[in-house]
C-alpha cells in the first residue's frame, strides 16, 4: 500500500455518501421538479464527484459524471424540464457510477490484471468519446439499456418517445440510439465489442464492474480497515462535556488548596491531570494539519496543467498549520476549485508567458498560517489575473447589469459578479470549467463555516485569493460587552483594539462625516456605530462630556468603532446557532451559554456593518477603498526638525534625509564657486539651506562651529544640505497649512504644539540651485544634467 491508498479509500467513502444523498435528492426532485435549489445541489454533488474522480484520473468515472452533469446543467438553466424518464435515467447513471466505484474499490485490492482492462476501457473512451456534450447526453441515455430486457424495452420506447417529443435543444438522431440498443441486445451478456463508443460507455458503466466487483467487494470491505466515522454531534457533545469538566475542575482546585488535606489534594491533582489530558486529546481528535488535504494537490495540479497544456509549479508553505477536521473537509472542495481556476483561467500558456516576459512555468503558491485566531490560506498565482473586461461583458450578456452602469464599476465591484451562481467567463464548457459552478460554491462553502474570501487581482499580474477560516467551529474566543443591561459577545477575531474615549477632554469628540458619526483615533478618523441604535434598544446618544467605550472592529476591509456601554471580560465561547425563528437576524452570528446558565448573543460583525449601511456607504463611492481610507484618515508623515539661522523650527520630510553628517569647517573645500567636502570616496556638494529660504538669515561670518549636514541623494549622488542644528524627528499631518503667498524654498507649514514649523521644499531648492549653476556654468557636467532630469519630471 502506498499513501495514495488512504486517499483512495477516502474517495470511495465520499463517493458512496454523495451517491446515497443523490438517490434521495433525485427522488425528492421528481416530486418537486421546480426546486431550483435542489437541482443546484445535485449538480454540485455530481460536479464534486467529477472533480474528485478527475484528480484520481478515473477518466471513465469522470466522463460518466460529466455527461450526467451536462444533462443536469440543461435542467438547471431551464432549457430542459425534468420528467420521470430523465430522473430514472439520471438514477441509472448513478447506478453506473456506483458500480464503477465498487469496481475501483475491488481493483484496488486486485492484482495488475483488472487494471489493464480498466486502462483499455479508458483508452477506448478517450479515443471514442471525443464527443460534444450533446453526444455525451446520448451516451447517458444509452447507459440504462443493458440492465435487462425489461429495461431495454423501456429504453427503446423511452428513446423513441423522447425523439418524438422533438426536443430542439438536443437533436437526437434516432438511428445511432437504435443501433446502440441493437448492439447491446446482441451482446446481452458477453462483453460488447469495444469499437463503438456508446457501447464502451455502457460497458464500462455497467456490465464489466458488477461481475468483478460483487464477489470481491465482500472480501475487500472486510480487509480494508475503514476509518471509524464518529457522528460529529457526538464529538461535539463530548467536547462540551470536556469543557464543562474543565470548569468543574477549576472550581475544585481552590478547595484543595484551602483544605490542605493530603489525600484530598492528591485526588484533586489526579483529576486535574486527567482532565487536562482529556481536553488535549479531545482537541486532537478535531485538529489536523492542513497537509492532509494539500498532499493531493500536486497531483491535481499536474493533471490539470497537462490538460490545459500549461506548465505550473506548486509552492507550498505552512503545511503543518492545524485546523478543525470539519473545517478541513469544508475547505477541500473550495480549494480544489480555486486551484483549478488558477491554472485554467489564471496561468497563461507557455507561449503567452514567454511573450509577456514571464518565465514559461507559472507559479501557484499555497500558503497557510495562523493569524488572529484564524487560519489564513492564501492561493496566489502569477498568471494573467482576472479578466475584468470579460467579466463585465459577461455580466452585461447575462443582463446582470446595464452597459451604462458597467462603465461606472470598478474592478473591485466587478469581482462581486464572479461569485454569482452560474457565472462563468469561459464561453466553452470544458471538463475543467465554464459551467459557472465554482466561485459561488466556494463562497457559500466558506461562508457556511464562518470564513471569508478576499480576492486581489491586479490586471495582468496574477490573482491572490485569501481565505480566512476560523480555527475551529466549536470554540472561539470572544469579548463580552454590555449594552442596555444585556451582555453581548464580539468574536475576538474581528476586534482590532479597545478604546476608551473621554469626550470632555478630547477636543474633537464625536464628529459627523457624511451623516455618519466618526471619532478620532490617533488622528485618524474611524466611523462609529452605536450598538444600542443598531439593535434598536434605545436612541441614546453619548453626551458631550461622556466617557465612552469603543471596540474597534474590522470586517471585510472596513474598520469601524462600536460604541458599547461597558467592556466586560474575554472568554472562550461555544457557538450555538440561534435556530430558524431567528434566521432573519443578520446582526447575530449565534448565541452562547454562559457559566451561570444564561444565554448571551454573539454579534455578527460583518452583518452589522452591512445592516448599518456602513459598507454600502463606503462601497457607494466609486473609488478604490485605499483612496477612501486616505480620505477618511489624515496620514501622518515623519519629518526631521532642525534649526536654520533666523528660522528656529524648520523641518524636512524624513524620506529626503539619507544621512546626518557633521563636518568641521576645515574640511570644506571649494570647487569653483561651490563648497564641497570629501565624502566617502567621492565629493559631496554643500548647499547652505539658509541661502535658499525666505526668512532665514545669512550664514554668520567665520563661524568655527562644525557644520550639521543632511545628506540627500539625488540620482545616487550626495547633496549636503547645511543646517544650523538638528533637533528631532516629529510626526506631522501630511496636509499642510497653505501659506498665504508662497515663500521661497518652503512647501508650507504645519502647526505642532502651538509652534509653526516650516517645511522646506527640497525639490524647489534643488531647482533654484540648478538655475544658479546653469547661469554660471555653460557646460553642465553629468551631475547637473541628472538633476535636470528630475526637475523636468517635477515640472510635469
Amino acid at each position: 500500500m502506498d499513501n495514495t491508498d488512504d486517499i483512495l479509500v477516502e474517495f470511495i467513502i465520499e463517493a458512496r455518501e454523495i451517491l446515497d444523498q443523490l438517490d434521495l435528492d433525485f427522488v425528492l426532485l421528481e416530486k418537486t421538479p421546480d426546486d431550483k435549489k435542489l437541482v443546484g445541489n445535485i449538480f454540485r454533488a455530481i460536479h464534486t464527484l467529477k472533480g474528485s474522480s478527475g484528480f484520481f484520473a478515473f477518466k471513465r468515472l469522470e466522463k460518466v459524471t460529466h455527461a450526467g452533469e451536462t444533462l443536469l446543467g440543461k435542467i438547471r438553466d431551464g432549457s430542459l424540464a425534468l420528467d420521470k424518464q430523465k430522473t430514472s435515467l439520471l438514477l441509472v447513471t448513478l447506478d453506473a457510477v456506483r458500480e464503477i466505484v465498487a469496481a475501483i474499490e475491488a481493483t484496488h485490492a486486485e492484482p495488475e490484471g483488472d487494471n489493464a482492462q480498466l486502462i483499455e476501457d479508458l483508452l477506448n473512451l478517450a479515443n471514442g468519446v471525443t464527443l460534444a456534450d450533446k453526444k455525451l447526453n446520448e451516451a447517458v441515455q444509452a447507459i440504462p439499456l443493458p440492465k435487462d430486457l425489461l429495461n431495454l424495452a423501456n429504453g427503446v420506447a423511452l428513446a423513441d418517445k423522447k425523439l418524438n417529443e422533438a426536443e430542439q435543444a438536443i437533436p437526437l438522431p434516432i438511428e445511432p440510439a437504435k443501433e446502440a440498443i441493437a448492439q447491446i441486445l446482441e451482446a446481452a451478456i458477453p462483453t460488447p465489442p469495444p469499437d463503438e463508443p456508446a457501447t464502451v460507455a455502457t460497458n464500462s458503466a455497467t456490465s464489466a464492474p458488477p461481475a468483478a466487483a460483487q464477489e470481491l467487494s465482500v472480501e475487500t470491505l472486510q480487509e480494508i480497515a475503514q476509518p471509524v466515522k464518529v457522528n460529529l454531534d457526538l464529538l461535539d457533545k463530548l467536547m462540551n462535556l470536556v469543557s464543562e469538566m474543565v470548569l468543574a475542575r477549576n472550581r475544585l482546585l481552590p478547595f484543595a488548596a484551602d483544605f490542605g488535606d493530603h489525600h484530598f489534594s492528591g485526588a484533586v491533582r489526579t483529576i486535574d491531570l486527567l482532565t487536562q489530558e482529556l481536553q488535549e486529546r479531545m482537541m486532537m481528535t478535531r485538529m489536523q494539519p492542513i497537509s492532509q488535504i494539500w498532499s493531493k494537490f500536486p497531483r491535481l495540479i499536474r493533471d490539470v496543467s497537462n490538460e490545459c497544456g500549461k506548465q505550473v509549479n506548486l509552492v507550498q508553505d505552512g503545511e503543518d498549520t492545524e485546523l478543525d477536521r470539519t473545517l478541513l473537509d469544508a475547505i477541500r472542495d473550495p480549494l480544489v476549485h480555486i486551484i483549478r481556476n488558477c491554472i485554467d483561467h489564471g496561468i497563461e500558456t507557455p507561449e503567452q508567458r514567454a511573450h509577456l516576459g514571464k518565465p514559461a512555468t507559472g507559479q501557484v503558491l499555497l500558503k497557510a498560517s495562523h493569524e488572529n485566531g484564524m487560519v489564513v490560506i492564501q492561493i496566489a498565482d502569477d498568471g494573467g489575473g482576472i479578466d475584468f473586461d470579460l467579466v463585465c461583458q459577461k455580466a452585461i450578456e447575462k443582463k446582470l447589469l446595464t452597459a451604462e452602469h458597467a462603465l461606472t464599476l470598478t474592478d473591485i465591484q466587478l469581482l462581486e459578479y464572479i461569485f454569482l451562481p452560474g457565472f462563468s467567463t469561459k464561453s466553452v464548457v470544458t471538463n475543467l470549467s465554464g459551467r459557472g459552478v465554482g466561485m459561488d460554491v466556494v463562497k457559500t462553502n466558506i461562508a457556511k463555516i464562518g470564513g471569508s474570501i478576499e480576492i486581489d487581482s491586479p490586471r495582468g499580474l496574477g490573482t491572490n485569493i485569501c481565505l480566512k477560516i476560523p480555527l475551529t467551529l466549536a470554540v472561539m474566543p470572544a469579548l463580552f460587552v454590555r449594552c442596555e443591561n444585556e451582555r453581548y459577545a464580539i468574536p475576538q477575531n474581528s476586534i482590532v483594539e479597545m478604546v476608551r474615549l473621554d469626550l470632555a477632554n478630547d477636543s474633537s469628540g464625536l464628529e459627523d462625516f457624511y451623516g455618519l458619526p466618526v471619532f478620532r483615533l490617533r488622528n485618524k478618523l474611524a466611523p462609529l456605530l452605536l450598538l444600542n441604535h443598531q439593535l434598536n434598544l434605545s436612541q441614546k446618544f453619548p453626551g458631550k462630556d461622556a466617557v465612552i467605550n469603543i471596540a474597534l472592529l474590522q470586517s471585510g476591509g472596513i474598520q469601524f468603532g462600536l460604541l458599547v456601554d461597558e467592556v466586560l471580560n474575554m472568554q472562550e465561547v461555544v457557538v450555538k446557532p440561534l435556530g430558524p425563528l431567528f434566521s432573519g437576524s443578520t446582526d447575530f452570528a449565534g448565541a452562547t451559554i454562559l457559566g451561570n446558565g444564561s444565554v448571551a448573543l454573539i454579534l455578527d460583525v460583518a452583518g452589522m456593518a452591512n445592516n448599518s449601511g456602513l459598507v454600502a456607504k463606503i462601497q457607494a463611492r466609486p473609488l478604490n477603498p485605499v483612496q477612501i481610507a486616505a480620505e477618511v484618515t489624515v496620514e501622518q508623515i515623519p519629518m526631521l526638525l532642525f534649526e536654520l539661522p533666523g528660522l528656529e523650527f524648520t523641518a524636512i520630510p524624513l524620506e529626503c534625509v539619507d544621512r546626518l553628517e557633521s563636518f568641521t569647517v576645515e574640511k570644506i573645500q571649494k570647487n569653483g564657486k561651490r563648497e564641497v567636502v570629501q565624502y566617502g570616496s567621492g565629493l559631496m556638494h554643500l548647499l547652505r539651506l539658509n541661502e535658499y529660504i525666505d526668512g532665514a538669515s545669512p550664514t554668520p561670518v567665520k563661524s568655527q562651529e562644525p557644520l550639521s549636514v543632511i545628506a540627500h541623494y539625488v540620482n545616487g549622488l550626495p547633496m549636503g544640505l547645511v543646517v544650523g542644528k538638528v533637533h528631532d524627528i516629529i510626526q506631522v499631518p501630511q496636509i499642510m497649512q497653505e501659506t498665504n503667498s508662497q515663500q521661497r524654498g518652503l512647501k508650507g507649514c504645519v502647526i505642532l504644539n502651538g509652534r509653526v514649523i516650516n517645511v522646506i521644499d527640497v525639490q524647489e531648492i534643488l531647482r533654484m540651485r540648478r538655475i544658479q549653476d546653469n547661469e554660471i556654468m555653460v557646460y553642465p557636467d553629468n551631475e547637473q544634467s541628472e538633476v535636470a532630469v528630475i526637475d523636468w519630471k517635477m515640472v510635469q
Binding site: N536, P580, S585, G597
Partner: protein
C-alpha cells in the same frame, strides 16, 4: 384532526386553552429568557434548556391578546412543534384532561383572525370554554425576517 384526546390546559389572562399533551415535553418555571433584538415580536427571546437553545414564544402576542394581568408569565410549556422545541410562555398551567368529541365545536365565525389561525376549535366544558390550539401552527407564521 381528531378532536378527542389528552390535552394540557393552560391560561392566559381570563382565557383557557388546551394543547395536545403528547407533544409537551416538560413544564419549566424558571426559564430565563434572553431578549434577541430585532427578532419577531411574537418571539420573546431565547432560553437555555440544559444546553439547548430554545426560542421562547410570547403567547399573548402570538394569539393577539393583550396582557391585562400586569404580570409576567410564570411558566413555560416546553413543546415540540414541527420537530422544533419551543417554549410557550403562559400565565399558569392547569391539568391534563381527556376530552371527548362530543363537546367539540369549530371556532365561531366572529373569532379574531389572528387566533383563528391557531385555534382549531372549542371544547365546551361545564365550567368554562377551552380554546384548542393547534401545536403545529405555533411556529408557522412567525416570520424570521420580521422586524
Amino acid at each position: 384532526m381528531n378532536n378527542a384526546g389528552d390535552y394540557l390546559t393552560f391560561s392566559l389572562g381570563k382565557f383557557s386553552f388546551g394543547i395536545i399533551a403528547t407533544e409537551v415535553l416538560e413544564l419549566n418555571k424558571n426559564l430565563s429568557v434572553t431578549h434577541v433584538p430585532k427578532s419577531p415580536e411574537t418571539v420573546r427571546g431565547i432560553a437555555n434548556l440544559r444546553g439547548q437553545l430554545v426560542p421562547a414564544i410570547d403567547m399573548y402576542k402570538r394569539l393577539g391578546l393583550d396582557n391585562t394581568t400586569g404580570q409576567q408569565e410564570t411558566i413555560a410549556i416546553i413543546l415540540k412543534s414541527k420537530g422544533m422545541v419551543v417554549a410557550l410562555l403562559v400565565d399558569s398551567v392547569g391539568e391534563i384532561i381527556s376530552l371527548e368529541d362530543a363537546t367539540f365545536e369549530p371556532p365561531p365565525p366572529n373569532f379574531p383572525a389572528m387566533s383563528r389561525e391557531l385555534v382549531f376549535g372549542v371544547h365546551k366544558l361545564t365550567s368554562r370554554l377551552l380554546l384548542m390550539l393547534d401545536h403545529t401552527k405555533i411556529i408557522q407564521g412567525i416570520n424570521g425576517s420580521k422586524k
